[in-house]
């Protein structure tokens, strides 16, 4: 006689429609803007192909173990980050709170980056592209001064998009066009996360797969461009000497860590919606490898396009010199071409050195143009947009490129928002009878109003600060405590039993070694190195100041003390949650003088239906 079971409480918890949706969501969360604009840059400055060595070592000893840990944790405990850590031990609840705070801070500024992408996207429907021509000055005799001295692309980014102020202390005004785009972006986020994974699960099919399509198209197009092979050779030529520099290893470790979006709580939230018997080990390895492969795959079109841009700039430089020489010496047209330029120069230098010197010719060196490495927003909004102007059919390329960036960022936003949303749902901030749509609406609305301060003139300086301080150090701290918490407080014996119950296999020796020793040690070393590097010089930033003598170079400025205090606050706030919550519980225990919480030993994954 089998008793008909009561309707289990698990059915109330949302589920993924299928396994593919879950894997795709994790991949979409991990694969973000950093894969496109940070990894190729790191490859370039750290000796090309040689960078892959520390990168894959870091993946093996830091990325995959931590990822497996988070996915297994969420699947076993079936709760969001705050609930999960509270369940493991109330003293560790601070870890969950810390990762929740980081998710909040990152969601705020990340969507503003998407706002910029959207602004460029809606401006791509014009002929000619607005960042390809300079506007005229007042009496129409020439171009706008700021635009003329820098380039049209720079002008469009710094003036027409950001309307940037020369200093972080000058806030400037709210830019209405950015507010409109910000509202649209938060509306899109609301639309996709309105019912939690029910809706993001559908949206992820598009936002996770579409970027791969576009990358392939750009790959094919990029390889046909002139100069692409120069760019690729430059990127991939290994320079093994760079491996001696510890900075390279540090960058590889941090890149793997931040690229996989660990310690945000989003991965825990995603895997908490899984059925209990799911092979989280295979999932972790899959997601990590796909993420790294995507980084590699993305760097190929990026560098083909950069090579093309460098070659075009090199040719322009040559052409300008040729024109001035022809004008000066009154030679017939087309007497000097790019290929015989050097022989002509040496000839003229020997015969008329003073004239050549008087012309003030700029030295054109292809290597110099290739060396101009950029990462981050500079790569996407300045360098790449300039390259797009040079391609035939620029509007289509621009539209494709910005939709791809938007999809990449949006799928990462889903993970961030899920990391904020799921714990709040479980904490029951809003009453249970209220619909989920209301909670997600409130989150999006509040975030929109706070993010308005990033649309000020100085907004992009603030986003840099958030990116450097809120989205870096706290994650390392949270991840460190995650590993320590699971391995030494929850005890790895129990955890390996839970994992065996979920995957059906005993834990490999590899996981034991990495979880117990290697990963925490690596995290500690990376954290120390990171802090040491930050402390070495006072934090500074580069400002766009048209009145600077070295314009169009950016002016190097130091943060004023009150801004530095905010930086420290941003970095310390999530970290300080960890000891604060532990302290709070300690005081409560002493106050009540009886163990009012379930000791961790009684709890285990098998009884995880509560």
């Amino acid at each position: 006689l089998s008793a008909t079971p009561e309707i289990p409480k698990e059915d109330e918890r949302p589920k993924w429609d299928n396994k593919f949706q879950y894997i795709l969501s994790c991949i979409g969360f991990a694969v973000g803007l950093g894969n496109v604009w940070r990894f190729p840059y790191l490859c370039q400055i750290h000796g090309g192909g040689a960078f892959l060595v520390p990168y894959f070592i870091a993946l093996l000893f830091e990325g995959i173990p931590l990822l497996h840990l988070e996915l297994a944790l969420g699947q076993c405990l079936r709760k969001g980050s705050i609930g999960a850590w509270n369940t493991i031990s109330p003293y560790l609840g601070g870890v969950g709170v810390g990762s929740w705070v980081v998710s909040v801070l990152v969601s705020l500024y990340y969507n503003t980056v998407l706002t910029w992408v959207m602004w460029y996207f809606i401006n791509s429907f014009q002929e000619p592209l607005p960042w390809s021509v300079c506007p005229l000055n007042e009496n129409r005799t020439g171009f706008n001064k700021e635009c003329y001295e820098s380039t049209a692309v720079n002008y469009f980014w710094y003036r027409k998009t950001l309307n940037i102020t020369p200093d972080i202390t000058e806030s400037g005004t709210l830019q209405w066009w950015l507010i409109l785009c910000l509202a649209a972006c938060w509306a899109i986020v609301y639309l996709c996360t309105i019912r939690g994974i029910e809706t993001t699960g559908k949206a992820i099919y598009v936002t996770a797969i579409f970027p791969y399509l576009v990358l392939t198209i750009f790959l094919i197009q990029g390889l046909t461009l002139p100069g692409a092979t120069d760019g690729l050779a430059y990127l991939f030529t290994p320079n093994l000497n760079t491996l001696k520099n510890p900075r390279v290893w540090l960058d590889a470790a941090t890149q793997i860590f931040f690229s996989l979006s660990l310690a945000f709580g989003g991965l825990i939230a995603f895997s908490s919606y899984n059925p209990p018997k799911n092979d989280c080990e295979k999932d972790a390895v899959t997601v990590a490898i796909v993420n790294s492969m995507t980084s590699l795959y993305a760097s190929i079109p990026v560098f083909s396009v950069l090579g093309f841009k460098a070659t075009t700039a090199f040719w322009d430089c040559l052409d300008r010199n040729i024109i001035s020489i022809i004008n000066e010496f009154d030679l017939p047209e087309e007497s000097i071409m790019r290929d015989n330029y050097t022989s002509w120069i040496s000839l003229l230098n020997s015969s008329h050195p003073e004239k050549i010197a008087g012309l003030k010719l700029k030295s054109c060196d292809l290597q110099e143009f290739l060396d101009q490495s950029v990462s981050g927003t500079g790569l996407a909004f300045i360098v790449f947009t300039q390259a797009i102007i040079l391609m035939p059919g620029s509007q289509a390329w621009a539209i494709l490129f910005f939709i791809m960036l938007f999809c990449l960022g949006l799928s990462s936003m889903f993970g961030n928002i899920e990391g904020v949303f799921t714990p709040l749902l479980e904490l029951q901030i809003v009453s249970k009878s209220a619909p989920k749509e209301l909670l997600s609406g409130i989150i999006c609305l509040i975030s929109f109003f706070i993010a308005l301060c990033f649309t000020l003139g100085s907004g992009s300086y603030w986003i840099d600060i958030f990116d450097r301080y809120a989205g870096s150090v706290p994650l390392l701290v949270v991840a460190f405590f995650e590993v320590i918490g699971v391995v030494y407080i929850y005890k790895i014996k129990r955890f390996s039993k839970d994992v065996k119950q979920m995957t059906g296999r005993k834990l490999n020796l590899y996981w034991h070694i990495t979880w117990r020793f290697i990963s925490p040690l690596l995290l500690l070393i990376v954290f120390m190195a990171f802090i040491t590097l930050q402390m070495q010089k006072p934090p500074s930033y580069t400002a766009w100041n048209p009145k600077y003598e070295g314009f169009p170079m950016k002016e190097e400025k130091v943060y004023p003390p009150w801004v530095q205090a905010i930086c420290v606050l941003l970095a310390a706030l999530p970290c300080v949650c960890v000891p604060l919550v532990a302290l709070f519980h300690l005081i409560k225990k002493h106050r009540s003088k009886d163990p009012s919480f379930v000791p961790p030993e009684i709890f285990s994954c098998q009884g995880a239906n509560s």
Binding site: L1, S2, A3, T4, M118, W119, I122, N123, F125, Q126, P128, V133, P135, L136, R140, T141, G142, F143, W177, L180, C181, A184, A187, I188, Y190, L191, I194, R195, T199, I326, N327, D330, L331, P332, E333, P435, E437
Partner: protein, 184 residues
């Protein structure tokens, strides 16, 4: 095309035309325009003389103004542009880009925003409808439970519904098939 004496003639004609239009005097002739220092680069100096006053050249500023006024016609006569036919010291007046009354990006933005709003409204409304249906179903099942509790038929001291809910496989042999039994 090659630069020969005919092209030079055309150039002189265009300059004369420009002077005529500018000063509205019909006295400038092609012979008034003099070219010198012609190089292979195709660059040269030219002056415009005034035939009414003896062998004096018209001041450069006047010539500049005349050429500036008719730059477009001169360019088109040679199928060249401001960049390829350069007059030193004459800066070109640039034409501003065509600006439509509503900026193009605003239109695209409007389209995108409309799509988003439609999507949100659709999802919210469908969510509300689903909730209403669920509420109606739960109240219906509540009514059903009330009815069941009223008539509690007993069988061996065990209420029938409990029997039905618990274990119990339906024994096919004793299926309530009325035709099997002889009617009374």
């Amino acid at each position: 095309y090659a630069w020969d004496a005919n092209e030079e003639y055309l150039f002189k004609a265009m300059v004369a035309f420009a002077m005529r239009r500018y000063s509205s005097k019909s006295t400038t002739q092609i012979s008034n325009v003099l070219l010198c220092n012609v190089t292979d680069r195709v660059s040269f100096w030219f002056v415009v003389t005034d035939s009414s006053k003896n062998v004096t050249t018209i001041p450069g500023s006047e010539v500049e103004a005349a050429i500036r006024m008719n730059r477009n016609r001169i360019n088109n006569a040679f199928l060249l542009s401001d960049k390829t036919l350069q007059f030193l010291k004459i800066t070109s007046t640039l034409s501003p880009p065509v600006e439509p009354s509503t900026p193009a990006w605003l239109i695209v933005f409007g389209v995108v925003l409309c799509l988003i709003v439609v999507g949100i409204v659709f999802l919210v409304v469908s969510g509300i409808q689903k909730r209403k249906k669920k509420n109606k179903e739960s109240t219906e099942s509540e009514n059903l439970e009330e009815k069941v509790e009223v008539t509690v038929t007993l069988e061996n001291g065990i209420p029938c519904e409990v029997l039905d809910l618990k274990s119990g496989h339906v024994n096919g042999v004793f299926a309530a098939d009325d035709e099997r039994f002889t009617s009374l």
